[in-house]
Symmetry: C2
Subunit: 329 residues, 2 copies
């Protein structure tokens, strides 16, 4: 069914482990019998939420600390076989308002995590969660990994640096590392309190609350990966040394306009409304237009492909949040 090695009894560290992707990954790893430690800062504006590990709380170790805390990280990486390095500042707006915090988390802390691995656990395998945002406005579609990097916000620049530290430490120091460039990821346990993680979170929340949501622009094309498919990609990349030093795009099983996505989300909810609004003028300058990824490299090298289609993924996501809404507000 899957072609990654057994994670049973493996020691695994997940930064951002109480966040959206981290907690879904933790659930899967617990199922596979791994010994999982979750690091999370629980900064309220970020994705960490203790409810995300409801039901597995006794089967994981939770360590509340910040990836900027060098001493904490130095200790935590020791003895681990795998590090899924998912902690990050993800908000575009926050990165522009406070560029230094974004730099400290997305660049400097990454460097210090890698230095800790180099000094205290050089045998670890690291998988870094990078982002499509580092491409900026595409020259060509679909965007492959060789596309120039021209980030359009501070967050993209710092994530680009963070990604390259990983590749560098693989190439120069043999700290086995690779990076996945995630596109829009959605699914249970995403942040829906606001748009800091993704606009889709706020759409889902408003739909469940019976309120109309806003779609900005509407014509832009995007791709979406359901979180279980991202988890699968992370496990494949960690388990295969072919991935070392590589950067892989993730993507979806298709491409949709935001207006079409809005319709699909309403359909998955069996009702609801949205309003199309003009793209705000102040964001126009950093609008990247259409984006969707060419993820064939990951498919060819690691056998990954998305399994959950958008309609099904949206249905599952809405079902999850309908049952748990109060724990995400």
């Amino acid at each position: 069914m899957n072609n990654y090695p057994t994670y049973a009894h493996s020691k695994v560290l997940i930064t951002g482990g109480l966040g959206f992707i981290g907690s879904n990954l933790a659930r899967r790893l617990v199922e596979l019998g791994a010994q999982v430690t979750l690091v999370d800062s629980l900064i309220p504006e970020y994705g960490g939420n203790l409810f995300n590990i409801a039901g597995i709380e006794d089967r994981v170790r939770v360590n509340i600390s910040d990836v900027r805390d060098e001493h904490s990280m130095k200790y935590l990486v020791q003895g681990q076989a795998y590090l899924f390095n998912l902690a990050g500042q993800t908000s575009h707006m926050d990165s522009m308002e406070d560029p230094f915090t974004d730099l400290e988390i997305n660049a400097r802390a990454q460097l210090s995590i890698l230095e800790a691995c180099r000094k205290y656990n050089p045998g670890i395998k690291v998988v870094f969660a990078s982002t499509r945002q580092i491409y900026g406005k595409p020259d060509r579609l679909p965007v492959d990994e060789g596309h120039p990097l021209r980030p359009v916000d501070v967050n993209g620049i710092n994530k680009m640096a963070g990604e390259w530290y990983h590749i560098l430490y693989n190439n120069v120091y043999d700290i086995r590392a690779c990076a996945l460039r995630l596109t829009n990821t959605y699914g249970p346990r995403m942040r829906i309190k606001d748009a800091r993680q993704t606009f889709l979170g706020i759409w889902i929340r408003l739909l469940i609350e019976g309120q109309p949501f806003e779609v900005w622009g509407g014509e832009q094309l995007r791709d979406f990966t359901y979180v279980d498919d991202v988890v699968e990609a992370l496990l494949l990349a960690a388990g295969d040394d072919q991935a070392n030093g590589q950067v892989y795009n993730l993507g979806g099983d298709g491409v949709v306009s935001l207006a079409k996505l809005a319709e699909m989300t309403v359909a998955a909810n069996k009702g609801g409304n949205f309003v199309l609004r003009q793209f705000p003028a102040e964001r126009k300058r950093i609008d990247i237009g259409d984006y969707y990824a060419d993820w064939r490299l990951m498919q060819q090298q690691l056998g990954w492909q998305p399994h959950i289609g958008l309609a099904e993924g949206l249905r599952r996501t809405l079902d999850y949040f309908r049952a748990t809404l109060k724990d995400y507000l």
Copy 2:
């Protein structure tokens, strides 16, 4: 003769102003009648040297401070028409041994300089000295500006981030900025104490001291820009709003192997010896092979081209250091 606007009476700030390129630029700007302020940290391992402004010391204002000093920079950028942002940590080896200092100077300080411009002097024009190192190992030669960025050391990653902050602040905040990706720059006032700035410095020093110098490898192809041509490029880029938001390669009037360069340097010195050594194993992994730039974009858009050939440039450089050696040791 040149097609940049008058700099007479213009207020100009140069970071790294006591360094190799900064001081040559300062001399030219003083000649053109500009009001020049030089910022330099005078960190002994970096390029700053008070002797570099011998003869113009009464015609420039010198401010000893570090670009990491936010308060100093906040004050200094005010009222300036141009900022030539040349301060940087340039040593590959230092960036690997102390990656955090490199990050603080080449990335974080750049962000804080740009924030200072945005808040206190949004009308300023900024020219940033970037580097060919951000390309890493070329896929194709000559390397044009669209070539993928794949830095092979910490220095390259942080310079890449520093460069992109400039382009971003131009695109998002209208802080007019551009970047020149410098290749090997050489000439009077370069650092010759050690190889921190360029291996050519140490070659020249040893030649003048009558000792043999070492050439590592020898077969690698490289291009070289004489410092006066770099100064010309900086002045053109600052003076032309066509450059805003752009990145330009600089290059040389030809391409040479390191072995050929060694021969030319000996010839320019009218004597001397060198030893060819194998490329050290520990540096093999970050060896980028051959590199030379396609600088036609700068030529087409801003009318720049190198004027000083390598033989002539080496002769001038050796003449300079023969007369001033004691001030550079």
